[in-house]
C-alpha cells in the first residue's frame, strides 16, 4: 500500500494512536486522507502521533485513541462487518470511549444492520442506527447545518451511496441537510458520545478541519486546541459552499 509517511510514527507511550481499520477492505476513495489530516493537525499542536493500518486478517488493537473506518463496496463491507464482529476489538475500544470516526460503508456498519448485495447484514450495534436501500443512489455534493452542541460550522462533503440510514433515539444527527441526501434527505450522519459517522465520503476532514479538531479534542481531552493556519482548507470550503449555492 502507499508508503506516504505520517508526521511521526512509533512515538511511544505518550503518542496519540490512530488506527485505520481494514484499509484492505474499506478504502474506496481517498479514505487515507482522514488519517493523514488528523495526524498532521495533532503534530502541528505538538502532540506526537502514531498511526497504524490494521488489515482485515489482523487483530484490532485495544488501546488506540482514534479508530477510522472508510468506505467500501458491498462485498468488502459485509466482510468487514463479519470480521469486526468476530474480532470484538472495536466494540471494546468504543466501550472505553475511544473515538471512532466512520464514513459511508464504515458508518453503516456501526449500526445494528445494513444492506449489502441485496441482503441484510448484522452491524456492530455501536450507533443506534440501521440502514436499508434507498430508491436511487445518492451522488453529489452534500452540505448541512451541524448539531449546535458540536459547535461546528456547516458540514461540506461529497456523497456516493445507495443506502438510507434511520436514526434511533440515542443517535443524534450530525447535521440537517441543506444540499444532498445524507441519511434520508433530512438528516445527515450521526453521533453519540465519542462515535461519529457521516456519508460525507472519503477524506471528509479535508473540507471540515473543525470536525477533525473536534475528534482530536475528544481523543486528547483538550477541547480547545491552538489555532493553525487553515488558509487552504478555508479557501476550499468557501469555494465548495459557494459552488452549491449557484
Amino acid at each position: 500500500m502507499s508508503t506516504e509517511a505520517t508526521s511521526s510514527n512509533g512515538a511511544g507511550e505518550s503518542a496519540l494512536r490512530i488506527v485505520w481499520v481494514y484499509p484492505d477492505l474499506l478504502s474506496t476513495y481517498g479514505d487515507r486522507g482522514n488519517m493523514l489530516i488528523l495526524a498532521r493537525r495533532a503534530t502541528l499542536r505538538g502532540v506526537p502521533v502514531e498511526t497504524l493500518e490494521v488489515r482485515s486478517d489482523e487483530a484490532i488493537p485495544r488501546n488506540a485513541d482514534i479508530y477510522l473506518l472508510g468506505g467500501g463496496e458491498d462485498g468488502p463491507q459485509a466482510l468487514a462487518a463479519e470480521r469486526l464482529i468476530a474480532d470484538g476489538g472495536l466494540q471494546r475500544a468504543a466501550d472505553q470511549r475511544s473515538v471512532v470516526f466512520a464514513v459511508c460503508a464504515g458508518y453503516q456498519l456501526l449500526g445494528s444492520s445494513f444492506f449489502a448485495k441485496g441482503e441484510k447484514h448484522a452491524g456492530l450495534g455501536l450507533l443506534d442506527i440501521d440502514s436499508d436501500r434507498g430508491p436511487a443512489r445518492a451522488v453529489g455534493e452534500l452540505a448541512g447545518e451541524t448539531d449546535p452542541r458540536l459547535k461546528l460550522p456547516m458540514l461540506t462533503g461529497f456523497e456516493n451511496h445507495g443506502g438510507r440510514t434511520h436514526l434511533g433515539p440515542s443517535a443524534k444527527p450530525l447535521a440537517h441537510v441543506k444540499v444532498g441526501v445524507g441519511n434520508d434527505g433530512a438528516t445527515e450522519g450521526a453521533w453519540n458520545e465519542s462515535l461519529l459517522g457521516t456519508y460525507s465520503h472519503g477524506p471528509a476532514l479535508a473540507r471540515n478541519p473543525a470536525l477533525a479538531d473536534l475528534l482530536l479534542g475528544w481523543a486528547t481531552g483538550q477541547p480547545e486546541l491552538d489555532p493553525i493556519d487553515d488558509q487552504w482548507p478555508d479557501k476550499l470550503r468557501s469555494e465548495r459552499l459557494t459552488a452549491i449555492r449557484t
Binding site: 500500500m1 502507499s2 508508503t3 506516504e4 484492505d24 477492505l25 478504502s27 474506496t28 476513495y29 481517498g30 479514505d31 487515507r32 486522507g33 493523514l36 489530516i37 498532521r40 488489515r55 482485515s56 486478517d57 463496496e73 462485498g75 468488502p76 466482510l79 451522488v139 453529489g140 455534493e141 461529497f158 456516493n160 465520503h201 472519503g202 477524506p203 479535508a206 473540507r207 487552504w232 482548507p233 479557501k235 476550499l236 469555494e239
Partner: protein
C-alpha cells in the same frame, strides 16, 4: 474481403460518414460520435455489419487503452490496412464511425471503454481482446472495480476469444482466466501494476492477496521473483508471463529480445508496447517486424506532446485517476511542474481520489497548481508536505518558470483546456 453489406447498412454507413463530415465542418465536434449515432439510428446492426469480414483486436482497461490502441494499430500496419478509433471515441458510436470512415480494411484495432466491452465484443466478434488493467476511476459514475472484473469474467465465460491479459493485475487475471472455460486461449503479459490499492482482496474468495514484495510496486522492465502475487485463500495466483519487458526491450515467448525505441516516455508505455506486440502476434505478425513501427507513435491527442513556448519546453502528461497519476510521476523529469485539476462531467465530480495519490515523488521540485479544483489539490499537497504556488492560469505558470522544461500533469478537461491554449497540439 467479403464486404457485401445489406443495403440498410450501406445507407447507414454513408449517412454516418456525412454526419461526421458535417460535425467537423460546422466545428461542433470531431465527428467521431455524431456520425456513429446517426448511422446506428438507421441500422442498429451497423457496427456488427461494419465489423463483419475484418479481423479485429479490442483494447480495454482503465488506463493506457488509447496509447496501446495506437501502438497496436501501428504494429499491425505491417500486415495491412488497419481501421482504428484513434480519437479516443471508445464507445459503440465511436467504433461505428471509425469503421465506416475507414472503408474496407482487413484489420481493425478498437479502443473500448471498459463498461462497453461485453456489448462491443458481441457486436464485433474480435479475433483478440486485450485486457490492460483495472483500477478505481470516477466512482461517482463508473462501476466499482470488483463489479467491472466480474462483468468481464462473465463475458469471457460465454464467448470464445483469444485474450491478451496483464499477469501483474490480479483483477484482470481473475477475469481473463474465465476464457479457459469457453475454450479461449490466454497470452499473459507482465505489464506491471504500480497502483495496487484495488487488488488486495481476492475477487474469487475474499481472502488477502499477498505480494512477494509488498513495498515494491510492480513495474514493467524490472522483472523478477518479487513480482509474484497469490491469494492466501484460494488457487488464484499470478500466471507465468509469455511476454515481458526488459529495459528497452520486449521479450517474446521464445525468449527473443526485441529492442523498442519508443518516442513515448515511461515504463508503462514500454509495457503497453509489449501488449501491442503480443496482440499483433495473434495476427501472425512477428515482433521483429512490428517493433520498429512502434517508434512512429509520438503523441496521442496532445498526450506526451512537447511544445516550445517562450523558451520553455512544455510537456503535457494526462492523468485521470490515481493509477494514472503514479505513472505520470514516474514519467516526469525532475523539473518545474504544473498540476491542474478540474472536476467537470468528463473528469468525474468527486475529487477525493487526490488523497489516494501519494505526491511525495514531487518533493524538491518547484510545484505550481491551477484548475477549477486547485484548492482541493492545495489541501492535499499541504497534508503531503509539498510546497506549492497557486496560479490563476496555465500562462502564469509558463511565465513563472525559467527557460527549460516545464512538466504539465493534468486531468481530462484541465488537460484539454491547456491543450487549447497550445493551439490544440496533437
Amino acid at each position: 474481403m467479403s464486404t457485401k453489406k445489406p443495403l440498410r447498412s450501406k445507407l447507414a454507413s454513408t449517412a454516418s460518414r456525412s454526419a461526421a463530415a458535417l460535425s467537423r465542418a460546422t466545428g461542433r465536434g470531431d465527428g467521431s460520435v455524431i456520425g456513429g449515432k446517426i448511422g446506428l439510428m438507421i441500422d442498429p446492426n451497423l457496427l456488427e455489419n461494419l465489423a463483419a469480414g475484418r479481423k479485429i483486436a479490442l483494447i480495454s482497461g482503465t488506463n493506457g487503452k488509447t496509447t496501446t490502441t495506437r501502438l497496436t494499430a501501428a504494429a499491425l500496419g505491417v500486415a495491412g490496412d488497419v481501421a482504428t478509433n484513434s480519437l479516443g471515441a471508445n464507445m459503440p458510436t465511436g467504433h461505428t464511425t471509425a469503421l465506416a470512415r475507414a472503408g474496407h480494411t482487413p484489420y481493425a484495432v478498437l479502443e473500448v471503454d471498459e463498461h462497453y466491452l461485453p456489448q462491443v465484443l458481441t457486436a464485433t466478434k474480435p479475433h483478440v481482446v486485450a485486457l490492460l488493467n483495472l483500477s478505481r476511476d470516477q466512482l461517482d459514475r463508473a462501476k466499482e472495480v470488483a463489479m467491472m472484473a466480474d462483468m468481464w469474467r462473465t463475458m469471457l465465460k460465454s464467448v470464445k476469444v483469444r485474450v491478451v491479459a496483464n499477469a501483474d493485475d490480479p483483477m484482470v487475471t481473475w477475469a481473463a482466466l474465465a476464457a479457459l472455460d469457453s475454450g479461449g486461449q490466454i497470452t499473459w503479459v507482465a505489464a506491471g501494476q504500480r497502483w495496487r490499492d484495488d487488488s488486495w482482496v481476492c475477487p474469487e474468495c475474499g481472502s488477502h492477496i499477498e505480494r512477494a514484495d509488498a513495498d515494491k510496486p510492480i513495474t514493467a522492465g524490472e522483472t523478477g521473483a518479487s513480482d509474484d502475487w497469490w491469494c492466501t485463500g484460494c488457487s488464484l495466483r499470478r500466471q507465468m508471463p509469455d511476454w515481458e519487458v526488459d529495459g528497452d526491450s520486449v521479450v517474446d515467448p521464445t525468449g527473443d529480445k526485441h529492442s523498442i525505441a519508443l518516442a513515448l516516455p515511461g515504463q508503462v508505455n514500454r509495457a503497453n508496447a509489449a501488449t501491442a506486440l503480443a496482440v499483433v502476434a495473434q495476427f501472425g505478425v512477428r515482433a521483429a517486424d512490428a517493433a520498429p513501427r512502434l517508434s512512429e507513435v509520438k503523441s496521442i491527442a496532445g498526450r506526451y506532446a512537447q511544445v516550445d513556448r517562450d523558451g520553455r519546453s512544455i510537456r503535457l502528461l494526462l492523468a485521470k485517476n490515481p493509477a494514472g497519476w503514479l505513472e505520470a510521476f514516474e514519467m516526469a523529469e525532475d523539473a518545474p511542474t504544473l498540476l491542474s485539476i478540474n472536476a467537470r462531467d468528463p473528469d468525474g465530480l468527486d475529487t477525493s481520489w487526490l488523497f489516494d495519490v501519494d505526491f511525495s515523488s514531487l518533493h524538491g521540485r518547484t510545484v505550481y497548481i491551477t484548475g477549477d479544483r486547485a484548492f482541493d489539490l492545495a489541501v492535499r499537497l499541504e497534508v503531503n508536505g509539498i510546497p506549492f504556488t497557486h496560479v490563476a492560469a496555465f500562462a502564469d505558470a509558463v511565465a513563472a518558470v525559467p527557460a527549460g522544461r516545464l512538466e504539465v500533469i493534468a486531468n481530462y478537461t484541465a488537460f484539454q483546456d491547456i491543450r487549447a491554449e497550445l493551439d490544440r497540439v496533437n
